[in-house]
């Protein structure tokens, strides 16, 4: 049991990473990674949602008839995402304003529903919680690495603090969506090359 829990925790971080192996959640990877601060909030929102959605769905998995399974999944995800949205709006209004519609779009993040379907639907709540958490972290650290390079090269700053100073010319492409494609592609190339070795 313990070894299964450890395995569940570790695989989404590397071998079955949702972003660079399963290529899921790319939409938000492109959208929110141009500023590290926004990315951190987005990542926390996704981790919260995947963890609790998988956990909740796993508790209910034996009660829910197969034909309404996906409707229930969407409803559970939407509930948690709206909770994140409301809490941000109340306690972190400035970040909420910057993230705009992207918080709501966590609902459509394939990782959340993907883990519920692939794992939580056939595993006990404890393991599902670990799987949801690990998938969220696996998604999150990739986003943070991408955001780090995009903000550094695109704005010359890290978390809003100037790193390069005045001599640096910002790479505008890095703060636009295509910049994320380049950084993500390079990231996948480097990581996959390492994995194959």
């Amino acid at each position: 049991m313990a070894s299964k829990a450890v395995k569940t925790l570790i695989t989404p971080l590397g071998k079955e990473n949702p972003v660079f192996v399963q290529i899921l959640g790319i939409c938000s990877t492109l959208a929110v990674t141009n500023k590290l601060e926004n990315t951190i909030v987005m990542v926390l929102g996704v981790i919260f949602t995947t963890t609790l959605s998988s956990f909740t769905f796993s508790i209910l998995r034996k009660v829910i008839p197969a034909r309404i399974r996906m409707m229930v999944e969407t409803l559970i995800i939407a509930t948690y995402v709206i909770i994140v949205d409301i809490v941000l709006k109340a306690y972190m209004p400035e970040i909420w304003q910057q993230l705009g519609p992207y918080v709501g779009l966590i609902i459509t993040n394939c990782i959340v529903m993907g883990r519920m379907e692939a794992f939580a639907a056939s595993n006990p709540p404890g393991l599902s919680l670990i799987d949801g958490l690990a998938s969220g972290i696996g998604y999150g650290y990739v986003l943070l690495i991408i955001a780090f390079f995009r903000e550094l090269l695109g704005s010359g700053t890290i978390l809003g603090f100037s790193v390069f100073g005045d001599w640096w010319t910002n790479w505008s492409i890095m703060v636009m969506a295509p910049g994320a494609f380049f950084v993500l592609a390079i990231f996948i190339w480097v990581v996959k090359g390492r994995m194959e070795e």
Binding site: V72, I83, V175
Partner: protein, 208 residues
């Protein structure tokens, strides 16, 4: 083949779905209601800070102090086309002189509506300053309209304005700097500035 009863095939899924929906909605509504006051206060505070900033009043750090200063210095007046915020100098609305007239100037942006707060000097021709209340422009590009240098350059400018490339450090009273890499956003905000100028001229005609 296993026989499935009508109840478990048709009725049970509906009941379960309804129960889960009710639980989820209650949860979300509960959290919404418990944070509603805070959300409204936040929205009010954003507007109050914008009015004070645009009028060139120094904003205190605490929220309670902002509310207090706003109460003292700003008078809200209903106008046919929206609220006008009259900002008074030291002495407040009872003894101070009028420093600025402010109003909300909305307009389209690249991804969504931009809501700007425009403050004009008492002549209603010169910008006292501006602030953005709502915008969804591209972070790092169009969203740079919220950076201090961009907003500060409006102080003392007289619409209709024209834009120069970023870095020109436009000094003429009808010229401002645009944002590199955000031509569309720059165009949108320029038209909001100029529309605001027209609205200010109307206020002057109304005898403000």
């Amino acid at each position: 083949m296993k026989q499935v009863s009508f109840f478990s095939e048709r009725i049970k899924p509906v009941i379960i779905m309804a129960v889960i929906t009710i639980i989820c909605i209650s949860l979300v509504s509960g959290i919404h209601l418990s944070t509603q006051e805070l959300v409204i206060a936040n929205e009010g505070l954003v507007l109050k800070k914008a009015v004070l900033y645009a009028a060139g009043v120094e904003i205190p750090s605490g929220n309670a102090e902002v509310n207090e200063l706003y109460e003292e210095r700003v008078e809200e007046q209903m106008d046919e086309s929206g609220d006008v915020y009259i900002v008074y100098g030291e002495g407040g609305s009872t003894g101070g002189e009028i420093e600025a007239y402010a109003f909300i100037a909305p307009g389209p942006g690249l991804w969504g509506e931009i809501e700007m707060l425009a403050a004009f000097m008492p002549d209603l021709k010169t910008f006292a300053g501006i602030d953005f209340i709502k915008q969804n422009e591209t972070p790092g590009l169009g969203a740079r309209i919220t950076e201090a240098w961009f907003k500060e350059q409006l102080r003392g400018k007289q619409p209709p304005l024209v834009m120069n490339p970023e870095g020109t450090e436009s000094s003429a009273s009808t010229e401002i700097d645009a944002i590199t890499g955000a031509s569309r956003t720059s165009d949108f905000v320029l038209s909001i500035f100029n529309e605001a100028g027209l609205r200010a001229a109307e206020l002057e005609k109304e005898g403000m």
